[in-house]
Symmetry: C2
């Protein structure tokens, strides 16, 4: 199958990268910093973004594009929390691609936003390989998932500019060797920050600080010299 | 892209189905019942299978094929729990396919097994579309993932012969509307059984009973009349 298969896959990725570059140029033009948020189903991505929208209210204008196979539940939650939110339903699609993001951004006024977070489909694997035009990747793991998930998902850890260990409040209730998890992350990516969060209780301070540095980066960077960051 | 893309994808699936049929014939010939276990990363699949191996010891001979992107941690855990275990590392692959299972089964003596459980890659999406030659699909959700995961993953719920809601012990510690979850499952698949389990504490009785009915089905079915169950 490979002789037929591989060129097609390469074409799909090449087309995706071309659209991602168009997205990134549009984001840079509008002065909006864009983060691709990747994590497994139920690690707390939407809860994190609800708390983020609530705590950034009045300070930054946050947009969210959220991908799920089905339902509009996440976008409804994020609109209620004060974000500008657009839902993408992927059907059977296991990740977002650049063209879906391009279509979704046409339903947002990018010039009003300081920050756009793309909540990818709940999946630790497939989203990692697709450039959406984002500037940074944030990876989320949940304590209830167990301490082995960084080691089992090296590609996400390699690519992440920041990692969150969410559901930190559940540590007393599940088996989770924090030293082992931290050592696994460090062995895979010694550069990335790793923050502990309890999104359900709104304890997300280090994440908000990291987002603020992202937005500041966007504001201070001379537009004329913008280059593709990846 | 579709004119090029779609035929290739169809060929890949057709080839997979052909190998799945070979697998299923081999399983039927050996008299082993095969279950494809699908759930998100960290819902407790391996913990469930550890408890299953321990509690079936001396009653049934259990084999496990376990898929992960990286590490052999799960197979090590399952060998220690008493199962015949083979690890498949998929690299960047987001699901198991029939050919990987075929290669793994060649490292097992199928005639010695009563039951083979294939622990798919931790992913609620991609594994659903690939026939491995299994006889039944078991889907696992974890309480810590939130009550919306059945509604968000309708394809798995449609295909599942049994569903487990694991981490039931975490209900006091997370927001989870059990009535809503149960209603979502019932709306998608009124036929499937839904069992509550706490795999970490070994509370998996209804799952073991269901497995026993699967094995009994395999033993009582006349070999000469075996047909493809799906």
């Amino acid at each position: 199958m490979n002789a037929i298969d591989i060129p097609v896959i390469e074409n799909v990725l090449k087309l995706n990268d071309e659209i991602a570059a168009i997205n990134r140029a549009a984001f840079d033009e509008a002065g909006v910093r864009v983060v691709n948020l990747i994590g497994g189903p139920g690690c707390g991505k939407t809860t994190l973004l609800e708390a983020t929208a609530q705590q950034l209210a009045g300070r930054l204008c946050l947009g969210v594009i959220v991908g799920d196979l089905a339902t509009t539940r996440d976008a409804e939650r994020l609109l209620a929390a004060g974000a500008e939110a657009v839902q993408i339903n992927t059907g059977k699609g296991c990740h977002l691609d650049a063209n879906q993001v391009r279509q979704a951004t046409q339903r947002l006024d990018l010039t009003k936003l300081d920050l756009l977070i793309i909540e990818n489909v709940g999946n630790l694997i497939c989203p990692v390989g697709f450039d959406l035009g984002h500037h940074a990747v944030a990876g989320v793991f949940g304590v209830a998932e167990g301490d082995d998930k960084a080691a089992k998902h090296p590609h996400l850890v390699h690519r992440a500019d920041v990692l969150l260990l969410n559901q930190i409040d559940l540590r007393p209730h599940v088996k989770f060797d924090l030293d082992r998890f931290v050592a696994d992350v460090a062995a895979l990516n010694a550069e990335t920050d790793l923050f502990h969060t309890n999104a359900a209780a709104g304890q997300i301070g280090p994440w908000l600080d990291w987002l603020a540095t992202q937005v500041a980066w966007s504001r201070t960077r001379p537009r004329a010299r913008v280059e593709r960051p990846e």
